[in-house]
């Protein structure tokens, strides 16, 4: 299902800013040819957008910095596969979503593998996270992983449930359930 609440396309990297297209296109071409300076220009242009996305998907500033770096390293490796039929910004946005979600999935698998034990060490802290009420961003960061990812992709980035389901490897209905939970938790966190 598409997400008509946000009518711009999900990849609208440049949707809210005027990107000087010829210069960027030129930089992309030069970077793809191995020009590091041109790639730095692309980094300067897009770092904020990529970082914001990573930050919200990961819910953690340190991880967000690492993911942002990973995204640009991956972009450098794959520039040759960027054919220019979509905006570079959209391509980079999609790459960023994949980098973060792939890593989060791997982390979830790792955690699932380890059988739950009754030890004190793995017992969750009996409290809401410190600073959960700071603001909307903090409340989003404090959401459970899946709920946060669906909320960020649907309500902030404008993806539809079908697409989110594909990205996260879950059913469309599960995506809706996560969204419902995320919105409810955010409401509760912000009302406190």
């Amino acid at each position: 299902m598409s997400n008509p609440a946000l009518s711009f396309p999900p990849h609208a990297f440049s949707g809210r800013r005027a990107v000087p297209v010829p210069r960027v296109t030129d930089a992309v071409a030069r970077a793809a040819a191995g020009d590091r300076a041109a790639f730095e220009t692309l980094y300067r242009e897009h770092a904020g957008r990529v970082y914001a996305l990573c930050l919200r998907l990961a819910g953690d500033t340190t991880r967000a910095e690492e993911y942002t770096q990973d995204v640009f390293v991956r972009a450098w490796q794959r520039l040759a596969s960027f054919r220019g039929d979509a905006a570079f910004s959209s391509w980079l946005h999609r790459l960023a979503v994949n980098v973060v979600l792939q890593d989060r999935r791997a982390e979830r698998r790792r955690l699932r593998r380890v059988e739950p034990t009754d030890d004190l060490g793995s017992a969750p802290a009996p409290r809401d996270r410190i600073a959960a009420r700071l603001d909307l961003e903090t409340a989003i960061a404090a959401l459970p992983d899946a709920a946060r990812q669906v909320f960020v992709l649907y309500d902030i980035e404008g993806y539809g449930h079908a697409e989110i389901g594909r990205l996260l490897g879950i059913a469309e209905g599960t995506s809706k359930a996560h969204l419902h939970r995320a919105r409810r938790l955010l409401r509760e966190a912000l009302e406190r």
């Binding site: 004190l120 060490g121 802290a125 409290r127 410190i130 600073a131 009420r133």
Partner: protein
Amino acid sequence: MLRISLITVSYAVLVGLAPPAAGQQRVERRLTVGERTPIRVHNLTGSTTVRGWAHDSVVLTGTLPAGATLYFGGSAGGVKGGVELADPADTMPAHLELRVPRGARVWIKSASGDITVEGVSGGLDVYTVSGRVSVRGAAAELTAESMDGAVTVEAGRWARVKTASGAIAVTGGEDVGVATVTGAVTYAADAFRRARLESVSGDLTFRGAVPRGSRLELESHGGQVTVEVPAALSAEIAITTFQGEVHNAFGSQSLRPLPDQRGRALEFTAGTGGADLIVRTFKGDVRLLRASAKTTR
């Protein structure tokens, strides 16, 4: 206004800051917040000291190395502060001192810096890599982690402490969990409800009383486990070890081999029971000692 100036005066009296060395900058910031405001502090190098006080304001003072910048801001909803080094590789220390409302929830992250907290009763999360951690005045909920710095804490209701090789000393608390790889652990308490100490090779020591209804577990692969308790100990005791030896000052029972090479065990009831004392080691020795009158609390 009057309160602010009072705070300024009392603070100036409390903290006699030395003049900054050449190239250093002195900083001072203040904010009025709520009693339970969450506060996050980032200071990678140097030291961070946080003291709870009876005012609903946060006062930050300190010295920063040349080129570093301080960020500090927020509201009753939350405060964030920290030091941004000019160069991430820079290891010149920054020293921060904060006064925070006693009931605040404080989160501190450092890399090589020491962290000292006093009199914060709300909640505490402190993380450092090689710095030392010292917490006095039991926070209701406490998480403290260091890789190889020593961690010394007075636990409140709930506490979790972790290191890799840093020594750990915990006192008090109701629900306490301590884990280390090679660090030495001592836990002293007489009113806990549940406590678990674990290590891979670090020695584990418990000193104090085992209250009725409580559960105390000590588990180590290769560390020596020492439990020093009053002669009036009343608990179900279960000690298992594979290659370690057991010294038991609470009776003549000794280790008996378990069937099928399952190791050796020593199980008995001291007094009338009513609490659980469980020790498990692979090759660490176990000593169950009577506290001398002097060390009994």
